[in-house]
Symmetry: C2
Subunit: 206 residues, 2 copies
């Protein structure tokens, strides 16, 4: 199987603006999709199976762990969340890039299995700005915000494990930067050879 798509890992601390950035990348680029995770948690109102998550039973999830179905998975409280390898492989094989929005632990798992995955870490422009974003509407107690800050700093500690860093100060700049990582990757020799095989042959005819 010749994969022509690229697998991207995008991680960030809460408050860095990852979700909005990824949403905007998807809106402007039809060659990339976000992976839909499997989860054992109960479907919430407004969620759709196969769109927001693939909702599976704990029994199915555990069997699939045994069967090495997951590129990465995590226990979050009493529920499990995971990225199924099959769907990702099918997308890559069809030439579509895939984004995994996962945390640094998930990123570590995926890197071991997909050595040519490209990982991107999104950072806030300052602690002050991060705190202000985490404060939400300002109604939360100081202790709650402090706890969120602690979690975010704990995430940020892993920035050096990533291939690219994007600083989300001005949203439009960060969006353009993120898009450029995708575009540049498609211009690499190995990718262009697969996509423009015929042109490269034709150009060399004497």
């Amino acid at each position: 199987m010749i994969a022509t798509g690229t697998l991207y890992i995008i991680s960030a601390p809460s408050g860095a603006g990852k979700t909005s950035l990824v949403k905007s990348v998807l809106a402007g680029d039809d060659q990339v999709r976000v992976s839909v995770s499997d989860t054992t948690r109960v479907m919430r109102e407004g969620e759709r199976d196969g769109v927001d998550y693939n909702f599976v039973t704990m029994q199915t999830f555990d069997r699939q762990i045994e069967e090495h179905v997951y590129l990465e998975y995590a226990d979050v409280f009493t529920n499990k969340y995971g990225t199924s390898k099959n769907w990702v492989d099918a997308q890559l094989a069809s030439g579509t890039d895939v984004i995994l929005e996962i945390d640094w632990q998930g990123a570590q798992q995926v890197r071991k299995l997909v050595t040519d995955a490209i990982s991107i870490f999104i950072l806030p422009p300052s602690q002050q700005e991060l705190r202000s974003r985490l404060q939400g509407r300002g109604t939360d107690e100081q202790a709650v915000v402090d706890h969120r800050m602690e979690n975010s700093v704990g995430e940020i500690e892993h920035y050096a494990e990533f291939d690219y860093l994007v600083i989300n100060d001005d949203f439009e700049v960060a969006l353009q930067e993120l898009s450029c990582i995708f575009i540049a990757q498609r211009l690499r020799l190995s990718q262009q050879r697969l996509r423009h095989d015929k042109l490269l042959t034709d150009l060399l005819v004497k």
Copy 2:
């Protein structure tokens, strides 16, 4: 010396549109400059020393070859052309990216000396389009155009030695792609660490 700029090699067959593309990249990006080559040939009307070329004597050029001043050089008929290492190093050290517009032979020389140089090859969208661009105003004899085509195909044979391929079909698309290679490179961990050292330290303060 910690270099923060990146050295780019841009090569292309005649007719691919390299010169116009590079000019447009420079116009929209103040963090990159094109290297000015040394040459032994006579200055032509309208040319400026230090801008179009650094005009040097054959004696100086040959001494500088001995002194390993050149990243790459070439004999073209009775003249020599070369890229001086010192100027390039100074630019990179100041955080400026440098473009070398050189052919595949020059590219081979530079890769040996600067292993982290990034090389980009620009291709025309078809042989037919290439021939039409090489025909100029259509007043040239068939034999002349054939000879240019042969030279171009000889250049194109080396495309697989480059890191990136950009196909110049639609100029604006090719320009955006080329710009993205530069932007993405600056987002790499190693580059961002140098540029945003203070931010990365500040974000981790508890």
